[in-house]
Symmetry: C3
Subunit: 377 residues, 3 copies
Amino acid sequence: MSVPVNLGRAVAKSDEIYPLQASRFYPKEQWYVGAYKSELVEGQTLARTIFGERVIFFRGEGGKATAVSNLCVHRFMPLDEGKIVDGRLVCPYHGYAYGEDGRCVHVPTGGAPSPHARLRHYPVREDGPFVWIWTGSVEGAGEVDIPDLTDIGLSDASDGWTTAVAERLHMQARAPLLVDNLFDLSHIAFIHVDSLPGAGGLAMIPPMFDRKSDRFRVGRYVPNFVAKPDTVIGDTMPMIVGQPVYAALLTDFYSPAVINSSGPWANELVDGDQPGESIAKLNFVHLITPETENSTHYFNVVTRDYHPDDESLSARLIAQTDRVRREDVGWLEQIEKIADRMSAKGEISSKADEGSLKVRRHLRSIIEAELAVSAAE
Amino acid sequence: MSVPVNLGRAVAKSDEIYPLQASRFYPKEQWYVGAYKSELVEGQTLARTIFGERVIFFRGEGGKATAVSNLCVHRFMPLDEGKIVDGRLVCPYHGYAYGEDGRCVHVPTGGAPSPHARLRHYPVREDGPFVWIWTGSVEGAGEVDIPDLTDIGLSDASDGWTTAVAERLHMQARAPLLVDNLFDLSHIAFIHVDSLPGAGGLAMIPPMFDRKSDRFRVGRYVPNFVAKPDTVIGDTMPMIVGQPVYAALLTDFYSPAVINSSGPWANELVDGDQPGESIAKLNFVHLITPETENSTHYFNVVTRDYHPDDESLSARLIAQTDRVRREDVGWLEQIEKIADRMSAKGEISSKADEGSLKVRRHLRSIIEAELAVSAAE
Amino acid sequence: MSVPVNLGRAVAKSDEIYPLQASRFYPKEQWYVGAYKSELVEGQTLARTIFGERVIFFRGEGGKATAVSNLCVHRFMPLDEGKIVDGRLVCPYHGYAYGEDGRCVHVPTGGAPSPHARLRHYPVREDGPFVWIWTGSVEGAGEVDIPDLTDIGLSDASDGWTTAVAERLHMQARAPLLVDNLFDLSHIAFIHVDSLPGAGGLAMIPPMFDRKSDRFRVGRYVPNFVAKPDTVIGDTMPMIVGQPVYAALLTDFYSPAVINSSGPWANELVDGDQPGESIAKLNFVHLITPETENSTHYFNVVTRDYHPDDESLSARLIAQTDRVRREDVGWLEQIEKIADRMSAKGEISSKADEGSLKVRRHLRSIIEAELAVSAAE
């Protein structure tokens, strides 16, 4: 566990309000979660808008996940209700059939399909419980990897983790509002006062900022934390009830697509106020996929490195994260409704907003770098 | 009662169609009814859009009504579901607290609030059954008073009046359509033929125009009116049933916010055709508050100077005014739906439209004066 | 029956995508079906938007159908709920009354109506089961006749035909999508696979193109067709079950307002593969009336020259056409939803699209001719 430092003072400037860039509302040269693996059933289509584009997922020959543009090149019919026949996507209108790579391979009325008859094909990867999709340029896909989530139990290479998959929520609000929300925990004392009783106090602990290489971390550290039995933490981390531990409430930015909130991590207490060996780790992992400029797919999984067979615990964790996420979504949608007023009025920040302002600047630098590359090309 | 004169001939010009001014759809340097006093409960917020601005009303320390802009300066959260704690308005997201004057007085994560952290404060006055709000410029508020409604029983200074408060209706139509409606009573014979049986005949009496100082009055006078027992008027003004009186159906423009329709006023009959002492006065007072350019809050109270303890009479008057108003609202909303066609086609008026055309011109002169002042500043 | 020729090869160009002309989305100097005669009941109004204009139909003195613009010239009230009194249309707001020709003939508050007080009058004709309306310029109405539908049993001059009238469907999609649909029967094997079982094979027969004077015909010909008893065709044309006939599945373009799909026509078989005398004719006649640029009234009648008294047959034919039409409407509405993407992407056609591409070009030439005339005027 790295050494946290105190947060400095920050005030938002007018150009730090959403969208952070007029020409691109969120980083695009990225891998995003397009679907849970479990959503993609062989023989069925899955239509979803991602970063403003209508995409259709399906499993081709051998069950391999693929994603293509959702609009038949013949007469513009959406392919939502296309049939999958022998791993090919068949248009419901006149029966044009497409292969995994988007090429038209059959026209029922006869003749060879035109070589121009092809749907856009999107790079897709399956890892952990996710189907990842690349939303950026064709060239970029090969140079960037999907975010490495091994240390929170979400890659095929992870070991010793138990994963509980929560429902995908649809949020009628722009993605950066969710980033803000996740990096300013002081809202727990207000929005989640009923669903996370007692957690408000922890959230009010002054946050520490810790930039590790290319990842942002905002943490709240409690060197002498004692969990009580009838609390949210006591219920979900029973092994630390009644004993003092070093607790860390961390918010980690893995990529624009992934933010992890530890729930918390508990370490042994050494020398009265220092972290020792890890006792237990709990993670609420937030997968953020822009649907459009003003709406977001909000995937979520809970991972832990203890009690792998406790299905009741998994169920309680899912219930907890869904209750909390629905509250957040409801409130962020209130902000989105008045988003046209954001630019008209200044935003006033305080010391506690340091983390969310820093991550906004980081998001903006990612966008700026993306735009610089595409301008140079 | 002043001397009425015959109405002249009027034809609408193309620039007399709504909105009367492209840059301002209705007078703005005005006091409007923001709410009934009874709507504003201590410890609760009341969110309402007025003249296109999102306003939130609440009662501060000591119960005093106040109104501020409805958007937290921290992260743009609407304050509709804010809590009132000790007379302060608390944002539901991160708990920023605001005083009656809109200043931020508390930030839960600590530190003194920025002096720039303040909501816009709107001048507010309580009088009669109303909470009035000033929608104009900051300078204008001190120079203009709320409309004087003493003579129709609607100020704290009124005496001898009984008031019945009707429901606020929300009308999806621009305010001037309601002004038009109230000044052309000939629609009673059509729209209200079932709810005001027999009143159509009165409404068809040629109207007289009477401009008193800065107030417009359009009146219909019946020098030898005899109310029958089983009519709307006979039921609500029982003291004039069977005896000839001088009846006056008046439409009085108090301000862009207030129009009164007498229901009627009954005077003793003198010299066979002249008005003598007042017998009874009944008023249907229309309080018009623009919500947006295309929608309107429609408040309404019925006042009378007789039978103060007759609660059944109050209930019947409220039932009558609500039935009539719902009919008007329904039809005006039909016009609003096709409002984009108003400018494309000429409007053709007849002699009976004199009153509404004159009041339109008056409204426009008020708007022009407002714009001239703001241009000079 | 004329001699069909093989279809050539066609590829759509980017300017052949809808709308075919930016300035006019469909031919306008035309007669369209405004209503079924049966919809127009004496003493009632029928409000309908046609080619973007709000029209109100009613029957004037003597029951004659008429159509006028649906907006009172006095205060812009829509006339949907106007009353018909003595063959006059009375505005529900202040009672202005209009005659069959749209002239205001009465103002309740008195005085002679202004000569400028008139609604736009649309030319109207009644023929067959239809009320036709002219949507073009005033000059054009006299020069063009309603489409001659005598040979498919739909004019007052038709003889020996039985007509079954189907429900008017409202389609939230542009009219040309329906034209496309009707001229490319290969969709039967996909969209209608369940409602027209077995018909997919017929639809896949290569179409032949036959331009007769000013009418387009795309046909599919089966020289040795044997209907089976338990099929759609066997059920509705029982006289041809079990005997070989020359069957013709024809799609005939009568005007932008009328397309007929034979269902089929059966002729005697001569010389093993030539058509002889007609045995029976069945027609599904599609009446296409643009409501707006993006929505369409879809009228439909089924006519046949056999079994005039078989009401059960009429009922089965209506059930069949309504099932099929609802399927088409549902799918075309899917395309309309993404219509903003039509221009962004190329459309790729195959040999089977020849008919629909030719009729598109014909539609465009009609529009171009209309615009050339109006530019010259």
